[in-house]
């Protein structure tokens, strides 16, 4: 994977990382002004890197773990800016910037020569769709998780009546709540369609036995937890502590499902 533009993007994301860390220590007047343009520019270079990679490998489908990380980071940035455009909220950046930085760093420096030219067993468009949909679902889940943590922090701050603490500068409780909820709702169809696309791919390759794979089972569990999370929020309006517990659980399952790749016989990020 051509790493030059990705490394440029990484440097710019570094500004976001510093912003997130500096925010926790207080003073950040100057940083606030340069962070958004910096990460926005970083995202542009990131896109260039993705584009260049796609042209070199003649396919959009990611062919290594690192490319996947890069794509996930990019989608997270898209979601971040979508939320910023709608709510003028930079607070998710506190968690998103460090994560994006780590993912991009791993992609930029762990880059291995990709196995270009290996024949894919199904049409790459399908693979790409599956990956993009699932990654978008992951990003949405992650944002919802971040929002529920921020909600909890803001709720604690308001209850403690401590208006001068750092966390009191977070967006209004209702705004954070809406961000979390909207992310869940928007992420759900992506996750669902992504899983369906994956099942179709696996069915075509392995027949029905794919179903017993740990990765597949964990993915289904993740989907169920996601659905429950959405349902409790929608029907009972779970917020605050309970919602944060649920979101944490859902996120943990998602991470395990992601990591379960190492155990899986059928699922490979790299084409066989």
């Amino acid at each position: 994977m051509p790493a030059f533009w990705l490394r440029v993007a990484l440097c710019l994301y570094g500004v976001g990382l510093i912003y997130a860390l500096a925010s926790l220590w207080g003073g950040r007047q100057v940083l606030t002004r340069i962070t958004m343009p910096a990460v926005g520019l970083g995202m542009t270079f990131h896109f260039v890197a993705l584009l260049e990679n796609a042209m070199l490998s003649h396919t959009w489908a990611p062919s290594s773990m690192h490319e996947l990380e890069s794509l996930l980071a990019f989608l997270m940035m898209i979601l971040f800016f979508a939320i910023y455009a709608r709510y003028k909220a930079t607070a998710p950046g506190l968690a998103v910037f460090p994560l994006v930085f780590l993912l991009t760093a791993s992609a930029a420096f762990g880059a291995t020569p990709a196995d270009h030219g290996l024949p894919l067993f199904v049409s790459p468009q399908w693979v790409y769709m599956h990956v993009a949909l699932i990654l978008f679902g992951y990003s949405a889940l992650l944002f919802s998780f971040i929002a529920s943590i921020l909600y909890l922090l803001q709720e604690r701050t308001l209850k403690a009546k401590n208006t001068s603490s750092f966390w009191s500068r977070l967006p209004a409780l209702a705004t954070i709540d809406e961000i979390g909820y909207k992310c869940l709702i928007w992420g759900f169809p992506f996750m669902t369609l992504g899983l369906i696309a994956g099942s179709i791919l696996a069915e075509a390759r392995f027949g029905s036995k794919y179903f017993a794979d740990p990765k597949v089972l964990l993915s289904i569990l993740m989907w169920v937890v996601y659905t429950v999370l959405l349902y409790t929020r929608w029907s009972a309006g779970w917020r605050g502590r309970r919602a944060a517990y649920m979101a944490t659980f859902a996120f943990a399952v998602a991470v395990v499902a992601w990591a379960a790749n190492n155990l899986s016989q059928t699922h490979r990020f790299i084409g066989p």
């Binding site: 803001q154 209850k159 009546k161 208006t163 001068s164 009191s168 967006p171 209004a172 009972a236 605050g240």
Partner: protein, 424 residues
Amino acid sequence: MNFHLIGVNHHTAPLELRERLAVSEERLPDVVSTLVKQPGVDEGMVLSTCNRVEVLTSTRQGADLRGFLRSYFGLGNDEDDKLDSHVYEFEKREAVRHVFRVASSLDSMVVGEPQILGQVKEAYAVARGLGAVHSALDALLSRAFAVAKRVRSETAIGSSTVSIASVAVELAEKIFGSLENKTVFLLGAGKMAELAARHLMARGAGKVMICNRTYERALELAESFGGQAVPFDRMHQFTDHADIILTSMGATEPVFRKEHGEALLRVRKNRPVFFIDIAVPRNVAPEVNKVDGLFVYDVDDLQSIASKNTAERKREAERAEKIIDLEVDRFASRMKSLEVVPTILSLQEYCETIRQAEIDRIRGRLGQISPDQEAAIEAMSRAIINKLLHTPITTLKSSAAHPEAATIHEMIRRIFNLSGGKQD
């Protein structure tokens, strides 16, 4: 050129005097036009708000602004003494500082309140429209607006609220974001509750319900808000519609306990409720605040936030004063560097006259010359002058901010015999 300011404000003058001097919007153009006709006054503007009346001028020689105030506002002799003891007058640097402080809201009754900048801008626009403001006041005022903006963005002077009612509104916005479509329920219809409700309405709260022991008072208040009066015995039936519950009832026992709160949340599908409890003894039991999604602030909580904010404003005001110090220095040195401009101009003019005279003189002796030769003579003579003047001009410019500026300035004028034309 000199800035000269005279005025009264809430610190220095009682309301009666401020009333005498206050200028209504309609009368403002007349005051300004009269002001700039005063002897010695080059430019002028008048700022009149409920807390201050100020006359700002740029003058050549001293102008009698006190006399202007006396004659324009027809103050009698006994009021003269009054005026003298209540008025403040600033010149030059101090006038600049005062204008900066006023525009940045450091001289306001509530330090950091944002309206004053708009009022200064308006007064400036009026004077400008009348042609009463040119270069000097223009430079001063546009710098003052920039300074005010800088103070606002670099300090937190205007960011915290200092009254109980506005603290309550700010907290409500921290919980609900926008207050639009939010319902406020007043339990008890005292003056404080009414004031807080008005603040909430001003920020967009959609609906008000009022419940009071005397139903008539509830009706009366509901009418003034365009809200709904709720009979006292049906109070709890209406609470689940309310996002913000403002309690101020005289009761010895809490009206809302934990179980009420939990029931409320069930009905409301966990949508948060904000209790503002300004009753003493409290109407809302403190445990209610422990329930997820319920937020209770009593009068002490609000008061302590308000006073913390007041203290913070004081700290921020100190930081703002430092910014103003810097800006006054910067502005003063800029004005100084403008002072040498007339000298530079007359120096150039003086040399140009000599050059022209010499060229005219020599042309007769040279007889017929080609256009090329003429151009060469022009170019050469210009080059000599520019090279000779280069050092004096750069010295003048660069020395403007230094203490020896006046000496250098004077010396150059004397060496080149630049009498007259000195504009100050």
